[in-house]
Amino acid sequence: MRRDGNRLDLYTHGHAHRWGTVYANGAPKRLQYVSFAAYEDDFDALTQRLRGAGAADPHPLSDGQGVWTRDADGTPIQVVVGPKVSPTAKAQATQVPAPEPGRGAAPGRSAAAPVQPRRLSHVLLFSPDVSRQVGFYERVLGLRLSDRSGEIIAFMHGPHASDHHMLAFAKSEAPGLHHSSWDVGRFDDVGLGAELMKAKGYGHGWGVGRHVVGSNYFYYVQDPWGSWAEYSYDIDFVPADVEWRAGDHPPEDSFYALNGGQAIIRRRIHFTSGVRPSPTTLSSIASNREPPEGRRAITNGRPKRGDLRCRGDAGANSRRRTSMRTGHRFTRGLGVALCSFALLATGAHAQGTQAPIRIGSTLALTGPLAATALVHKVVGEIYVEQLNKRGGLLGRPVEWIVRDDQSKPELARTLYEQLLTVDKVDLLMGPYATGAILSAMSVAQRYDKVLIHHTFGIPSLAKYDKQFPAWSLGPDPANTVPTTVFTALAASPKPPKTIAVVTSKFPSVHFMSLGAREVAKKRGLNEVLFLEWDFGNLDYGPIAARIKDAKPDFLWVGALGLEGNQLLEAMNKIDYAPAEHFYMYPAPGPMSKSPLAKNALSMTMFEEHPPFTNAAGAKEFIDLYHERAAKAGIPDTSVEVQAAASYTAWQILEAAVRGTNSIDDAKMAAWLKANRVETIQGKLRFDGPSNYGDDLMRVKQVQNGRWVTVYPKEYAAPGATLLVQ
């Protein structure tokens, strides 16, 4: 790898040839041209054929030599006279001296030899019409078909001996570069390469496995621009004097999963870019594309289920590798032998020179809401970091700008205005909490921006059509949430007959408490007490005394954060513990840790136990969050509703950008209304009133110092049921 101004030249160890070049231009990556070398003897005849196919001007980024044409997909092709750099014999494995007798063969991890690719083996290009491309390269450049899988993928080798394929095509909507494949000398190097890439922050890859077509062992890693690079070992070789019998392979038989079939399904490379993947997409080669002129593309590295049938037992008996027929001499054909490529990409030095996509938000980093806002800060940082490791958005890095709104909605309004007019951010992310979100929403509306927010608690106030909630309350939570709670209680061992509703007048809990009164009345519960207090109340003694006096079977507490704990303490001071009690919204950590909160109920959309933890990406996020939250000094590092809602909001934003291939607010909003988004909470939709979808609130309970979901049963922690005293 050598850097020269705004270009990166790709070399391999022990080889002087420059295999490829990446040029920076600030736009999404796009394949510029492919260069082939031919023997001098063949050159004149090839020139004739190229001219016959339609001469083209040399590409401005090239050396300008040789003859030029465009292939069937319009990609510029250069043919020059030059030395053959594709192999003339089967590539030999790197020789590792045998260990002394009595010593092990594997070196220590630290002593493992560095992975050094030896040469470019092949490139795989996207094509809207694979057969048309095969026809072109056979006819004009004299390449030969090695194997194919219907119209999905085709592999071609050179007539003067080459790897099983030096050029291959995969079906997609538009032409482009899918991957470049780099030959390494040992099977170990494939795995070590994967490990190296992960260690360097390029964790998104596929493998290790073995292809049936070409027989090579592989690991793919995604580069910062969305294309892939393959570590390849032991690919089949097609000698010049041998006829390779081309086969047509069923896609599902196309590779072995050497790391276990299940893992392959999860980690499978999938590269759709806003277009629906073709259902027949071949496993490793999905429908990445580079867009036609004037359109922007991104590659999406996120795995998607359903379009790959992977069988871990794709065994030797299902391989249909054709035998080489020696003895049948092939006439020395006309053709090209060298393959190099140039790629115009988003940045010469990873993402360094590329203008980032800037996402602006405020958070209550100081003031009364700071404790919870810190959760959102940590989650946002984790998400943006992961996003950038995956290559960012639209091939651009992502930068998150966070301002401190000091828990003041009016300050949030000013800061959002500033983010749009002064900082000129591309996208917005919502603040914390309801009051500030409402402020941000009005600014977003004025500038016609999409606003995705984590924790907006009053759906009826969300009037703006380009706002999207991650807090899955449904459009009518004052009815649906209490209904869920009372249904859970009715199914408990001791269904309550009397209820006390005590509530702060804080807006997002107050309307829920009023809803709880209505629902309780409808369900025939006898209300023995109803109390309201102003947010910021200091003396909970009298409230506790009145609850004790009323002796309800069930206590509904509308209390924000600290208030729930304060009420519990006040009740304890007069020696009273409620039988069944529900809090909305408590400070989750302090409440679960408080010995007074035994069996306390609350609502949740996510807790750290199955089935929630089975969601894609959930485990990875939980581990990272534990680490970062501890570092940030958050006492309770478990992922629950707040952290999960925060993560969800970012997932929605990413899905909208990837889904539309753009950061155009109108397009993103339209896409979100028309599509469902897979998140760690579940599948979300935004087509209901106020863009709210389903009420995903479930009932959780403090049991043994931690929150566990207890209702409904399909979301309950393994073995957990609602406990009553």
């Binding site: 100081t366 200091l538 003396d539 003694g541 009298p542 704990n565 950590g589 006492p635």
Partner: protein
Amino acid sequence: MTFPSGTLLAQSALSGVFIGSMYGLLGMGLGLAWGLLHIINLAHFGFAFLAAYLCYQLASVGGIDPLLTLALIIPLFFALGMAVQWLLSRFSVSPLNSLLATFGLTAIIEAGIQYFWTADFRKLESVYSGQKLRVGGLFVPVPELLTLVLALVLGFSIWAAMRYTNLGRALRALAEDAPMAAAFGVNRRAHALLLAGVCGALAGIAGVCLALSFTLTPSQIYAWVGVVFAAVMLGGLGSPLGPVAAGMVVGVSEAVTMAFASPSWAPIVSFSLLIALLLLRPGRT
């Protein structure tokens, strides 16, 4: 509205007495500095919370009995109080500007607390926290009782000192007519520093009481400002016992309102009472 039971009413009133003594303890140092030094020290609240967090740290992490932390907190906050007074007099800050300067100091303290202890809730779990006495049908929580006793003892001691010692007379003379007191040989700066130190120590003691009874979070600093100011103004500037008595009037009136009616009416009742008392108070200026 049904008439609440006697136990409920008594328990509520007791709760009001306790919260009132907390108002009074916080207001004592504030009122003394205000009345005698003409300094409106908003940082008093910041100091109290800083002391509360220190007490939390020493007790829950260091394993020290929270009451023993007073041995460290009292001298420390005495020194802090003096330091602030020295700075304010060094720059000849006027009473109104002292409000602004100490408000800024409070914000700094809040940020410092948030930096060290984060904005999350902290609750001191000590041997005292769960303890309660049962008197008749009523429950008396020990930490709150401690606050009440401290407020009364400190209030009476300072009242006595002000009234019966030369030091107290000198302080009162300074407040009334500083140049004349100086002419009689009273060292103004030394006395002011001493009094500010006492106020700082009172903030420290109030902080320990806060840590014993309440869950802490930095922004709670401001939750106390309004009602404690009310207690100080109602009780009289420069009076050590006034804020305690006034705090209890506010606390009990709120608590009884909560017992009778909706808790959200409590501030309306207590602040209406405050206005009425300020208007009708004898000797008002």
